[in-house]
């Protein structure tokens, strides 16, 4: 009987957490539509210019977007692991 109540306590706590999760700081980023949506102005508009940035290439050398001005640039975002 003690184990039964202990299991109920654990499951009940998880149920409360699952129901309450959207209102917690860790769950808010998943449940808040505003946070899930694109931030206006964070990236360029279609047909406009991207804000300048610098990222490392595959060899670790920094690449700045403005250095590629005048060239065609294909920018892709990929996961590093095939899940």
């Amino acid at each position: 009987m003690i184990l039964r109540w202990a299991a109920t306590l654990v499951i009940g706590a998880l149920l409360v957490l699952a129901a309450w999760l959207p209102d917690t700081s860790i769950g808010r980023r998943s449940s808040d539509p505003e946070l899930r949506s694109d931030v206006p102005g964070a990236v360029g508009e279609v047909g406009g210019h991207l804000p300048d940035f610098t990222l490392p290439d595959l060899d670790g050398n920094p690449v700045t977007l403005s250095d590629l001005r005048g060239h065609r640039v294909l920018l892709t975002f990929e996961r590093s692991v095939d899940w």
Binding site: R4, T8, I11, L14, L15, A18, L21, G27, S30, D82
Partner: protein, 152 residues
Amino acid sequence: MQTSLAYRVLCGAIGIAFVAFGVAAFASFFAYHAPDSHLAIPTGPTGFYFVAFTGCAMVGWGGSLLASIRDAATSRRVGSVTAFALVLMAVVRMAGWVVGDYYAWVGDLLRGEAILFLLLALALVWLRPRPTGEPAASAPRAAGASSVGAGS
């Protein structure tokens, strides 16, 4: 008796669902490798390997639940470990919902599944039948415990 019936119905429903899901997951591995296949699960060959592995395990798990219906009292631990595994599955889904990587694919389904699994685990815990012969075996101990309690 009604509790036992509800427990058996619950084990049967979960068992049938697990077997059906397991067969679908098993079949999805072969469907993925068929030419021009377009499956709903966004994963690659490694992912489908584990999907098929999970499917085989779920067929065995669901089959165990269905087999436990025949004599629920002596097979009650099948329900206990199922409840434990359902809690683990709920924890994984809650973590997956928080991480947010799966939101584009399944939305809030993960949180709903977590709540469903936790409720099923709770039902398995409370509907679990007493072990066969427990009243007779525990009666002398209970009587002894009460006499000690009365004396102290």
